[in-house]
Symmetry: C2
Subunit: 470 residues, 2 copies
């Protein structure tokens, strides 16, 4: 007998488990299949362990710079094994929490390898047993894998995922790729005491973020001692004894370890055989309800982006479930808006945040923009914590007088993402957003100040700064 499900979700990362929970909450009968650990790349070898590792680096940074704040540290040292223990403990605790969450939410979970057999048929190999299931809808959430750079097999090269769980601390590191992940890697290992070279093919790091924020962070990282090579392509990586030799831009660089953070590719192998249309880069093509070219099959997360964000994947999960509920003849409880803004962050020090359109993107779309900035050096809150690097930059549509982008370089910028997104997404006027009272002193005031500056009424700056200085 073939098991019957309303929805089978393949892949238990943030996109997949969100889809499963939401489908269950809409009253659907749902099975979640995961071949490895629940939580996907994000929880097991991505955002979560990297943030746990970054926290250790921030603690080390605080300890080393404590004397400025009246705390004398006579002697301190790093214990890489203890750091790894912390990172693993965080991952394991959250993994257990996720298992228990899915159980409480009533989602059935099976550990196994799932394969699409047809529009409404899924084959599962689990623990030696084989099974074919039927599903009214299938959600594909199989994620992505790190791109590999060709290299001598004897050279010490690891992926951005493996770099989070190194058995020993490397003294000399090359990071290939200047996106958020590569930049975080460079920051972590530099802060913890390694010599770090960051290599980026494009003219600047963080190409997806606002140019001023990216340039400001690039300057800050250089001041912290990271060597940054932009416009530089790695031609090949060879081995010499235990070292890697990176050939980049005509130079040879000898390092203990190469961390490859040069992007990711969608795990879409075999899907086209079932009539699912793929894009040229191997991602799955979907419509605004995440529906693929096979009407009963939906795709979400990194599988449709190659390299996406966990939070982007979670929204797509909400949307796919809305699509499925509509398709099955019901009405979704919460309709998901068709356009949304996915924040992008780098958890370095200073942190970088981009929400909505960058100034450049707005110009490319022919939008006449107005821009204002607020430097953290004018902020009481930033001053009290000794972190005055960076600025808030707001981009508005000159015609509609609505904020279309907020970009921040500075302390704790990532936790301001919700406020920034609300302003951009909710369509409040600049004045409304500026008039909302912010606690004094708090970093949230930085957004308010930039908004006031945008309407020509700067409060704690005398005039609009021309450029985001660091």
């Amino acid at each position: 007998m073939t098991e019957q499900w309303d929805v089978v979700v393949i892949g238990g990362g943030p996109a997949g488990y969100t889809a499963a929970i939401r489908a269950k909450q809409h009253g659907l009968n749902v099975l979640l299949v995961e071949r490895d650990e629940l939580g996907g790349t994000c929880l097991n070898r991505g955002c979560i362990p990297s943030k746990a590792l970054i926290h250790c680096a921030k603690v080390w940074h605080t300890v080393k710079n404590a004397n400025q704040f009246g705390v004398n540290v006579a002697e301190a040292n790093l214990d890489w094994d203890a750091i790894q223990k912390w990172v693993n403990r965080v991952v394991q605790t959250l993994r257990r929490g996720l298992q228990s969450l899915l159980q409480h939410q009533g989602v059935s979970v099976v550990k196994g390898e799932a394969r699409l057999l047809g529009p409404q048929k899924v084959h599962i190999s689990s623990d030696g047993s084989e099974q074919t299931l039927s599903a009214k809808a299938v959600v594909l959430a199989t994620g992505s894998s790190p791109l590999k750079i060709p290299h001598d097999p004897n050279a010490p090269v690891v992926s951005e995922e493996q770099a989070l769980f190194l058995p020993s601390f490397p003294q000399n590191v090359a990071v290939i790729g200047g996106g958020a992940s590569g930049v975080e890697m460079a920051w972590i290992f530099n802060t913890l005491g390694a010599k770090v070279t960051l290599i980026e093919m494009l003219p600047r790091i963080l190409p997806a973020m606002d140019e001023e924020v990216a340039e400001g962070l690039q300057q800050a990282l250089k001041r912290q001692g990271i060597a940054i090579l932009t416009n530089t392509k790695v031609s090949h990586i060879s081995a010499r004894q235990n070292k890697a030799i990176v050939n980049a831009g005509g130079e040879e660089l000898e390092v203990d370890l190469v961390i490859c953070a040069a992007g990711r590719k969608a795990n879409s192998e075999g899907l086209s055989e079932h009539g699912i249309t793929l894009n040229a880069n191997g991602t799955v093509a979907v419509d605004e309800w995440q529906q693929t070219s096979v009407l009963s099959v939906f795709a979400i997360g990194d599988l449709v982006h190659g390299s996406g964000t966990a939070h982007g994947g979670m929204v797509e999960a909400e949307r796919a479930v809305c699509g499925i509920v509509r398709q099955l003849g019901g009405e979704p409880l919460i309709p998901v808006p068709s356009s949304y803004f996915v924040p992008i962050c780098a958890y370095t020090e200073p942190q970088a945040l981009s929400v909505g359109l960058t100034e450049q993107e707005a110009k490319e779309r022919g939008i006449d923009t107005e821009v204002a900035r607020f430097p953290w050096r004018a902020s009481g809150a930033a001053m009290t914590i000794g972190m005055t690097e960076g600025f808030v930059k707001v981009v508005a549509d000159a015609k509609t007088k609505r904020v279309i982008g907020i970009h921040i370089l500075g302390a704790d910028a990532t936790n301001l993402n919700g406020e920034a997104s609300l302003i951009v997404a909710s369509g409040v006027s600049i004045e409304q957003a500026a008039n909302v009272v912010r606690q004094h002193p708090s970093l949230s005031e930085g957004i308010k100040e930039a908004l006031w500056s945008l309407v020509g009424l700067p409060l704690h700056t005398a005039k609009r700064p021309n450029r985001g200085r660091v």
Copy 2:
């Protein structure tokens, strides 16, 4: 000859200098008079130095607990003189910044003692010279002073302001008053190693904040080693050698220092002689444009609250200037909404934030409420930084389905104030606010999770927790 001004502002704190800047930006001819240092209580002996001191305590806390994150600190000690140096440096830098800001904004500033002579007349004693000015409108922003508790003059008793600048570190401290200021004092001195007793007359600390948040913080502070006496009135304070003997609730408590944080009173002396109506507690009575009973005189900040917030005073400044511009026959550039929410915070660890109505306040107003919570122990972001104490609590109006209050206990809660205020003030629906994408992992997700829980679709919690646990 009598100098003629459009507006004379008396008092250079956040309310006063904001009024002066805004009046100038509206094209008015404005003079700001301050008898002491620019920046008022907030910058010189309130929010700013307390936050700088709190940052030092947080650094010390991080250093002492660093081993959990793989950072071994062999030996560390506190340098109280260096802490005081940091606090003073922050204050001096911001004071210089404010002077330069007012200069660039074109605000005339005079250092001197101002006294109202009539509805449109102000007398100024400055550096031995006396002067009478005429003004179309006068803005009173003379602030408040700490309430004094009667005590033996030989007993070591200081105000919440003096406690920020102690010449030496006290080993045994009693803090009188469990509002935000007293709670912060207790947290600072306990974290830095003193034995601390916090004494509050009412049944709980932070009476102005949400009950669950206040109770949760009370439990957390007790676990940290602070003795908290609630329902306890101090009857008198006597001296014994260099110590203070606090008589409270029938017990005698011997301490090195008493910090009095028992509230503040408005600096309204002499105003009633000029026909300005005062409230029973000595604050100045104002209408919705901050206008006093004398039509050309406006009052803002602590003067109308007794004990207010800097950000509350700044909004009142905006409003008073709108009122003045209207009165003088113009149209204000930015009309200020007549109702607004002023966040209240305690910068302890965990931090506490209240925005909008508490559950209790809503009930007292006869509002039928719906409440949901999200515990930080279910948050990936909180887990990665090792700070899972506390929760987000959202309060909605069951009829209108709008969020009327957001209350947070937890790490970095204060920097979420803008997001919380935007949701409460902008009138977006619960679903709209929940649907806005938040960065993963970030603390901002906690608000999103609580909102989802409120509409019956919890994502990372299985069901609504009944009570904010810590």
